[in-house]
Symmetry: C2
DNA sequence: CGGATGACAGATTTCAGATTCTGTCATCCC
DNA sequence: GGGATGACAGAATCTGAAATCTGTCATCCG
């Protein structure tokens, strides 16, 4: 593996470690990647990595956090658009599902890195869900303000919308995403939810 | 392990093999249980087991099928009751969730046996889901006939209802069922679905 | 002095050889 | 003759010793 960091490079930063870890994870996969591999990629000793991250888990969480933020960045635009709330919610949910499905195929090692954090109850997954719920709550609040949606508590309802669509975005269901009928099933669920919100 | 079958017992039947396998699975767990263990419990050679089941997988499927039918038997009564359809649907979904949750704790080895079939795309899970969807479709059709639910295609909508509640009954989510807020989340999702059906 | 280092202990993983298991089938017996 | 048997091949799993990894820390260096 080509070292990412020349001998004459400046101080070792958390960002450089995260970037190198992402490379190493993509190359070897989360099951094989080691802290020593990361250190080697950076031309430092593995002890130096532990100056910035208390544990391998913490490092993986930082990598997953950044990756998740990047891959779901496009959702905020949909949430903030000025189109009718039901249409926005539909498109937002669809885009979330499409992103996840694409990443399983596109970037399987990083998807696996993120998935592996969930059984361990990492805060990354909970924070990610809370972040997504915030965007849904905003769409719901807009829709309530305009009369497109019936009044309800946006945070609670946002969580219910995400829970009801978890089959289409939760990594635990990733194997089901290759089903030829998955799109129809998604549309049926979303239609039911939109009817319940109207 | 005490043999279930005395030397003077009658012919070896598929049912006896299934019953013995269930015992063996409960005792050793699906990861450790072998066909030889089952044969020993029945005082026969393992070759005899293969006269009735073409493979270990087929045997496990038969066991899981029977177990699932038994543990979900109570749902049919709820589906067939003459209470208002929305109430029936709510109680049916709740009972399904409660059964699954209880079995994870009660009967973890059999729950694991059933869960293990899902990643392998066994027809057992698909058939089970179709059976459940049939009951939901019936509740929906009743509700449509009485005007409690809006008109829609019952089979499609039944599938959507099950998909939207999968977090509360799909084994992939079993770890989440111990969350203290799981009941509130269940009720929020079902309220949204019932609103969408009304 | 702040950051990097590498030796170290204990935990985890690897790997090869030995064992056990699955699934088949020629043979046996009732 | 129909069902049961157990020997067998190839696949999977176990076992235990060696290697590697994680996380710590006394030491070093600029």
């Amino acid at each position: 593996m080509t070292p990412r960091r020349a001998p004459e490079a400046g101080p070792l930063t958390a960002e450089a470690i995260i970037a190198a870890t992402e490379d190493v994870l993509r190359r070897y996969g989360p099951a094989k990647a080691t802290v020593v591999d990361v250190a080697r990629a950076l031309n430092v000793s593995h002890g130096s990595v532990y100056r910035h991250f208390a544990s391998k888990t913490e490092l993986r969480e930082a990598v997953a956090r950044g990756w998740l933020a990047r891959v779901t960045a496009g959702l905020a635009d949909i949430a903030a658009s000025d189109r009718p709330a039901p249409e926005r919610l539909h498109d937002w949910l669809r885009e979330l599902a499409v992103i996840k499905r694409r990443k399983v195929l596109d970037d399987p090692e990083m998807f696996a890195t993120y998935s592996a954090l969930i059984p361990g109850d990492s805060p990354v997954a909970a924070d990610h869900l809370a972040y997504l719920a915030g965007q849904v709550a905003r769409i719901l609040a807009d829709g309530m303000a305009s009369g497109e949606f019936r009044a309800a508590d946006p945070p609670t309802t946002a969580r219910a919308v995400l829970d009801a669509t978890s089959r289409f975005h939760a990594p635990a269901h990733a194997r089901e995403w290759t089903s030829p009928t998955i799109d129809d099933e998604f549309e049926a669920v979303v239609a039911l939810l939109l009817a319940g919100l109207a």
